[in-house]
């Protein structure tokens, strides 16, 4: 069986990166074994025992990275090595890029692609601001994926963008769809006439996916990063995005998504919205309807409502008939909840939500607080309901596993399910838990193997039929993970599966109410 490999001199990678890359590479077609190890004497000895020690490895030092692949044919092994290099360059924790095949500066990138008009910046935060400013001064739109950008630099970038009419998505912007191209974490959606500006990452993913799943389409989906709505930044990126959608001839309906903006931002939004006749849907999660109405926009209380209302407007259906449909639907939700409530074992009464997506956790918290009252969380709506220990649930609990406290030394929960899987099993052991609620965000950038990495845990929990497991899948049928297959696998594993967070949350809330918690 052929073995090939390479030595990367002085390449520092942490074990997280090496283990994840090795795991993914082992799953490639025709690959039997993969080694990514530092070139210590002991590791070389292991490679020898495994018949994977190549001649070129013999002089490697402790600080050199050895990559070896064993597979069915030379061609498959070569292919896997290339894939590993790609995976490593994606997952590299260190600042320096090792690749010789990509331009090393904005200037050289522009020489390779001189008609580019958008730059995606994902360098260490300290450099990202300067790179963004450089790009903007060259007349290019920017998406800043990086966080920890010095705030003065971030503000300056946003000001330049605002003045020049150039998009500045970010800092810390994880998702966008520009002219049909998905950027960062995003879903493969239908193209259409609905434009979105969002200061909430998974909020944008949820809304754009529901639109696409319900016959609508996206013209542009502009993420801004949550910090943009803070007073310091004054919603400058959000406003620039909104103006772009107002001017965009492909956009007929505009959808705004955010947590409630400050008074200053609201005033600027109102002034900007006066300049358009396009219908605008406003979903400011947790804000009063009157705030949205005052802007001259149509209010949507949830992400799902925002998506469905946008589709209705796009198809020429009036707001009133949409509202009627939403109100009537409450009967269906209650019926579904009644059926589920009957399955709950006596004595079990609590809701436990374990989330990958921050905005989805926030939305569920808002809905359930209204339905059930006190919801404890590591990201509580009120400080008095903060969990004493984020690793331990109390009564009705919602945990956002994407928060820093859970991501120390490990990938984001949208990529690595291990931590949440453990927590799911832990919650299921609690004899007072009635319903475990989970989101599953698919699409580009997220875990590519949810059936292998997530479904077995659900099976484990549901096998004795004591706990209801509810999963909301955010994504579309065109996403690379195969949404239909995932939903089927989850149902087969005993989960109750939805693809709209607000709807699913309401069913869950009603179940808990019916069992009298």
């Amino acid at each position: 069986m052929p073995v090939k490999g390479i030595v990367k001199k002085g390449a520092y990678y942490d074990s997280v990166t090496l283990m994840l890359v090795a795991r993914d590479a082992t799953k490639l077609d025709g690959i039997e074994d993969v080694a990514l190890m530092m070139g210590t004497l002991q590791n070389k000895s292991i490679l020898e025992t495994s018949n994977m020690l190549l001649q070129e490895f013999k002089d490697a030092q402790d600080n050199d990275l050895l990559i070896a692949v064993k597979g069915g044919s030379e061609e498959l092994v070569e292919k896997a090595l290339k894939e590993i290099e790609k995976l490593l360059s994606k997952g590299k924790s260190s600042e320096e890029s090792q690749s010789d095949f990509v331009p090393r500066s904005l200037e050289s990138a522009l020489k390779v692609m001189n008609d580019a008009n958008l730059v995606l910046i994902s360098v260490a935060g300290k450099y990202a601001g300067d790179e963004a400013i450089k790009a903007l001064r060259n007349g290019l739109h920017v998406m800043i994926f990086s966080d920890n950008v010095p705030k003065e630099k971030a503000l300056l970038a946003k000001q330049i963008g605002y003045e020049k009419g150039l998009l500045v998505m970010g800092p810390d912007c994880g998702t966008a769809i520009i002219n049909g191209a998905p950027l960062g974490f995003s879903n493969v959606v239908e193209r259409g006439d609905i434009g979105i500006v969002s200061a909430a990452g998974t909020g944008l993913q949820e809304v754009s996916s529901i639109i696409s799943n319900n016959g609508g389409g996206i013209s542009q989906a502009i993420g801004t990063g949550g910090i943009d709505m803070k007073d310091y930044y004054g919603g400058l990126s959000f406003l620039t995005g909104l103006r772009a959608l107002i001017d965009d001839p492909q956009t007929k309906v505009i959808t705004l998504i955010s947590k409630p903006p400050s008074e200053i931002v609201l005033k600027k939004l109102k002034d900007t919205l006066k300049t358009t006749n396009k219908p605008v849907v406003g979903c400011f999660l947790g804000a009063d309807e009157s705030v949205v109405k005052d802007l001259g926009a149509l209010p949507a209380k949830t992400l799902e409502e925002a998506a469905l209302l946008s589709v209705s407007l796009s198809k020429g259906i009036p707001f009133e008939s949409f509202k009627k449909e939403i109100d009537e639907r409450e009967i269906t939700i209650k019926k579904e909840a009644e059926e589920l409530a009957e399955k709950v074992k006596q004595g079990r009464k609590y809701f436990r939500g374990l989330f990958q997506g921050g905005t989805l956790a926030y939305e569920t918290e808002l809905i359930l607080t209204e339905m059930l009252g006190k919801i404890y969380s590591n990201v509580p709506l009120k400080e008095e309901f903060r969990l004493k220990d984020s690793w331990k649930s109390e009564k009705h609990t919602i945990v956002d596993l994407g928060e820093d406290e859970f991501t120390v030394g490990r990938p984001h929960p949208q990529i690595d399910f291990q931590l949440r899987n453990k927590r799911i099993l832990e919650e299921a052991k609690d004899s007072e838990v009635a319903l475990i609620y989970l989101d599953l965000v698919i699409g580009y950038g997220t875990n590519m193997h949810p059936i292998e990495d997530f479904v077995p845990t659900i099976e484990e929990v549901t096998k004795n039929g004591e706990v209801i497991v509810m999963v909301n899948v955010t994504g579309t049928d065109k996403d690379p993970q195969d949404k239909k297959a995932i939903m089927k696998a989850l149902r087969d594993a005993g989960a109750v599966v939805y693809d709209r967070n607000a709807y699913a949350t309401k069913v869950a809330g009603n179940v808990i109410k019916l069992i009298g918690a």
């Binding site: 990678y13 074990s15 025992t49 402790d62 600080n63 030394g409 490990r410």
Partner: protein
Amino acid sequence: MMKIFSIGDMVNISFLDWSFSIHSVFKEVINLETQYGIVSFVLKSIGGGPNNIVVDSLYENFDSFVFKKEIKFDLSNVPMYDSTFHFCNADKIYLMNNIYKLEYILINESNSKSAAFLLDEKRLENFKTPLEINLARRIQIGFQKLLNFDISAVKTLKGLGYGLTPQGDDLIDGFIAALFFYETCFNISTYRLRKEIYMLALTNNKLSNTFLYYTSRGLFYERFKNVLLSLVSGENIEHTVKSMLAFGETSGADILTGFLKGIKILLEGGSALCQ
């Protein structure tokens, strides 16, 4: 301006006046190579350590500090992190009970690819490819030798496994920590053995050498120190262990496995062997 929350008790701040270079850069840690050894700038999420400087942001202004040496730190009011661990007269049975709790959490909560298979052989099922199986076997054999106080096993374990501080190194680190912990609790010297293991374990992996150096001298990083304190006090065991498990992909679990196996042998009477 970079804000400093704490500075490790082993950081010789004179390094700031001398030349130093970057050893390695990660999202939450920047390791500098100085003439006094490795000094690590870390975020709060990593926590204190003998050679750690805990800061609020790693990248803001860092280039001015590292490359241009434009930034001068005022360290006069910065709290010092105390990496030492003191305790005496432990109740053996009470300690053993707490150690069983640690073992339970380790088996149930640690990464499937961690060395916790040394505690529960069923976990060997997680090692599937020939390379992984060989690695696990080598670790099993090497560590069992070390548990029999055959310190030549250090040479077998050192450098074995993934990452910049491989699993074998972490197991050795945990084992040395167990020797020190035992010494502190029961006033039985393990100094000679700790020193010998450290000397045998030295390689040209400076980062790993640094961790072993501090552990061999009874100086601990915050997360690990918290575990040790919870074991003697019986409080917050679950919390401190889970926090340690979140350290690296398998590092926290591997260090704890090395520690657990080591301390159990010592408590069960193996101390006679180590003297």
